[in-house]
Amino acid sequence: MNDLPWLDITIFIPLGGAILLGAVPKDRVGALRTGALIVAVAAFAASLGILAGFEVGEAGFQLGSSLSWISEWGIGYTTGVDGVSLWIIMLTTFLMPLAVLASWSVDKQLKPYFIFLLSLETGMLGVFSALDLFLFYVFWEAVLVPMYFLIGLWGYGRRVYAATKFFLYTLAGSLFLLLAILYLYFAAPGEPTFDYRSLLGTELAFGTQVLLFLGFFASFAVKIPLVPLHTWLPDAHTEAPTAGSVMLAAVLLKMGAYGLIRFGIPLFPDAAQALAPLIITLAVIGIVYGALIAIVQRDIKRLVAYSSVAHLGFVVLGLFVGTIQGMSGGILQMLNHGLSTGALFLLVGVLYDRRHTRLIADFGGLAKSMPVYAGVFLLVALSSLGLPGLNGFVGEFLVLLGTYETYAWWVIPATFGIVLAAIYLLWAYQRVFHGDITNEANRGLSDFNVREYAMILPVVALIVFIGVYPKPFLDRIEPSAQKLVSQLNDSSVLPEGSGVAEAP
């Protein structure tokens, strides 16, 4: 079974499915929905092949393939998966069927909608699997176009503004990424290549390293997003359709953090170490600032969007404090944030489908009309604010533990951020679900239907599972995290082989 290149199959199933969907007549709504769902489930099934074939305890890349694409330039189709990318890939394929289920309420231009959604998945999976800088950049940009259309065509309210802002912010950042990649390409000695593993360990002067790191960082920091480059995020998250918001929050934001882990830190370890205090400062500012702004939001979706800024601050904090706990926690927190924030957006989407509003003030007492919904929302909110026993706790706790070893003082404001998270989530919960039904429109709301159960229960199950038993997840993350930390702390001496491990 493991002879098949599951990783590559997983990457291209959605794109192939999108092309096939192109052949379905556009008024066959049922066929389009079912088709998209089948494709998304098929990609998830294929990704289980990755999980099954993944060797625990191995720090290098696995299950990849390497084909020559444009050999004159040293460009290859090179993919692989390690502990950093494994769970994000799984998260992507896991969430996509749910996002398709959340798209039942899309009522216009269904065909291009699903085509964009599925090609988006291929782009995202490619980003997390590419081990060739050129290929990585292609996938990185390929994510941009479908997302732009998803927000711009099927979004709400100020969707054109939000889509344009999203596109321009990301493109401006990624052009610096391209420039830095080009510079690295020409600076590396020997046969010119874009292959990540060959470029690892390229000797660069410290000043050059810093400049190139900043080039990569410009692109990744926009995507994460780090304060003060976050202003595109509330607009894009709020105006995107539910599936778009889920994918943005759960997966697209991880692209930035992933880029830092995969490329920023290992390629330019000296620069990463030198700039770590600055980045940690930005991350902590993001934690507190995102939480404070979230408290005063009147729109639930915007509240969740700002909470992402805070949560991603935790991720970045963990990545740069230079301890194994921090790194593992940061990587796990990427998965956790994807699950809990993805679930929150799914839930807000359910509410919006019923009431066509997202303003907190329009609700109140919903626990009476939608008891199951209210219960699930509470569980997900608690997971998002890091209640012990649920997934968010494990990641945040590891990050704080790791931070305490090296940057002890920063733990104080970061912990304060968790307290603030409790405030904004629970206060919003109280206003939406408790009390009496003040608005008559909320009285007859129906609870989950079957499709919505199918959409939300898998996430809830995972949230509880990771919270209770995170070991299988951490076991696969830790070897890679360990390697990364040694690269960050021990930057003058590059590890032998630089992580080159062939697939078994």
């Binding site: 444009i70 050999s71 004159e72 950049y137 292609v138 940009e141 390929a142 941009l144 176009v145 732009y148 259309f149 711009g152 065509l153 969707r159 054109v160 889509a163 344009t164 596109f167 321009l168 493109l171 401006a172 052009l175 610096f176 391209l178 420039l179 080009l182 510079y183 390409y185 020409f186």
Partner: protein, 511 residues
């Protein structure tokens, strides 16, 4: 194809200009055929003859592939640069003719002169890329310029078309004068107008062998002459500050001709620039580089910024074409192998994308080009999903988004400049690309995200025109995915180089 044989038979020395001769011949035949065979309603044979002629010219150009010599008393270079350029130009001409056929038939202004003039223009552009003497270069420049002046005014009923042609003509004549002055000064400096010179520098002087045989302090007059030549060529590539004509000429010209100008004129003038600077004047690169860098930076910034405020799609693409001239200039500045091949690749793929874009615009514009404003493209996607998708693809390519040929073009020219040590110029290029992305995005947003104007008339979409759009779209995405064949061809398209020190194409100067 018997026409092709007729012209490939004469002595080898004509091989270098056989495509041009064929095209001029076919153009004359078209004029005679049309004059003799009456005035039928459906004169498909005119377009057919033109297409055959262009295909034949491309075949003749391919037959010279691999040649690397000077012909006709060192007047003509038969080298890779010329062959690559001629094939590309023939392709541009072919797309223009096919698109023009539908366009002219729709507006009921089909005349044989259109085809003949396009062929003359292509012949002039081809000669421009092969010219190894400034006089030939000037001759070629005037040949295609004069043809284009007429073609721009081809919509006789339209005042805008006339106005554009007049502006284009006046400014074009002005720039030709500068170019001539540059030629005269060159002659004064070196006693010849040849770019290379013969084997014996005394008997057959030329720019290249003059430079290698002269101490640098005697070159001041030649450097001044170079400055004037840059003005003449800078006008044709639409580099700032010689770009003033571009928006006006692009706006009023028939859309197929606008696309042809953007693709062909730029290609021909850049081929001449590449030959002049990266071959003949290569040893003087430290002298001309600052000049071209200033031009490139100004062009990239002005083109991208001014495009943002345009409401007319043709004007918008005119400013975008100015910005693209700046991007290609970074490849010329690099003056290394990668720069030359990158510029050629860029020009070839840019030409196809921009021709495709103007093909869509000409379709959307409708009869007499009444709907060319950005606002006329509102919600186009809901009426013509395929056309809109194609235009989006071209715009993404112009913006340089991966998986399109435009991205690869940017990658190679920017890469060449980074390799040559001009990273800061590339930083400007990257920043202006980001600015440029904004207005391409604006067009896309208009087509996809806004509601269609209910009063918009239905568009007749001809089969030839949609074929042109399809071919351009396939090429744009094809060369974006698998660019090896084209980049290999561009890399083997070396410029003829003849001087004692520099035997082969320019080597990377290393800063």
């Amino acid at each position: 194809m018997n026409l092709a044989q007729e012209f490939s038979q004469p002595e080898v020395q004509l091989g270098g200009i056989a495509p041009e001769l064929l095209l001029v011949g076919v153009a004359l035949i078209i004029l005679v055929v049309d004059a003799s065979f009456g005035r039928g309603d459906n004169r498909w044979y005119l377009a057919g003859l033109s297409a055959l002629g262009l295909a034949g010219a491309a075949a003749l150009a391919i037959m010279t592939w691999g040649d690397n010599e000077l012909q006709l008393s060192n007047m003509i270079a038969a080298d890779g640069l010329a062959a690559f350029s001629k094939v590309s130009l023939a392709a541009f001409g072919l797309l223009t003719v096919l698109l023009g056929r539908d366009y002219l038939a729709r507006d009921k202004i089909e005349e044989s002169e259109f085809y003949a003039l396009v062929l003359f223009a292509v012949a002039g552009m081809m000669l421009m890329t092969a010219a190894a003497d400034l006089i030939v270069m000037f001759l070629a420049l005037e040949t295609f310029s004069v043809s284009l002046y007429v073609l721009v005014a081809f919509r006789r009923a339209s005042l805008a078309s006339h106005e554009s042609a007049m502006k284009y003509f006046l400014l074009g004549a002005f720039s030709s004068a500068f170019f001539l002055l540059g030629i005269a000064l060159t002659y004064g400096a070196i006693g010849s107008t040849n770019l290379y010179g013969g084997a014996d520098p005394v008997a057959e002087p030329g720019i290249a062998n003059f430079i290698t045989g002269t101490p640098t302090d005697d070159l001041s007059l030649l450097i001044v002459a170079t400055g004037f030549l840059v003005i003449g060529l800078g006008f044709k590539i639409a580099a700032v500050p010689f770009h003033m004509w571009t928006p006006d000429a692009y706006q009023g010209a028939p859309s197929p001709i606008t696309g042809f100008m953007a693709a062909g004129t730029k290609f021909a003038a850049f081929a001449a620039l590449l030959r002049l600077f990266d071959a003949s004047l290569f040893p003087l690169r430290s002298e001309w580089r600052p000049l071209l860098i200033v031009l490139a930076v100004a062009t990239m910034i002005a083109g991208s910024v001014l495009a943002i405020v345009q409401e007319d799609l043709k004007r918008l693409l005119a400013y975008s074409s100015i910005a693209h001239a700046g991007f290609v200039l970074t490849g010329v500045i690099a003056a290394n192998d990668r720069g030359v091949s990158g510029a050629l690749f860029y020009l070839a793929t840019y030409g196809v994308a921009v021709l495709g874009a103007f093909a869509v615009i000409s379709l959307v514009a409708g009869r007499d080009e009444e709907r060319v404003l950005l606002a006329d493209h509102r919600g186009l996607f809901y009426e013509h999903p395929l056309l809109t998708t194609a235009l989006t693809l071209f715009l993404l390519s112009l913006a340089g988004v991966p998986v399109t040929s435009g991205f690869v073009g940017k990658l190679v020219v920017f890469g060449a400049a980074v390799e040559a040590g001009y990273t800061w110029v590339v930083v400007v290029g990257v920043l202006t690309s980001a600015i440029a992305a904004f207005f391409y995005l604006k067009v896309m947003a208009t087509m996809f995200l806004q509601e269609r104007d209910p009063d918009a008339p239905a568009l007749p979409v001809g089969r030839l025109a949609s074929g042109v759009v399809a071919v351009a779209a396939v090429a744009t995405i094809g060369f974006g995915l698998a660019w090896s064949p084209l980049i290999n061809a561009a890399e083997s398209a070396t410029i003829f180089f003849q001087s004692p020190q520099e035997q082969s194409a320019p080597i990377p100067p290393g800063g």
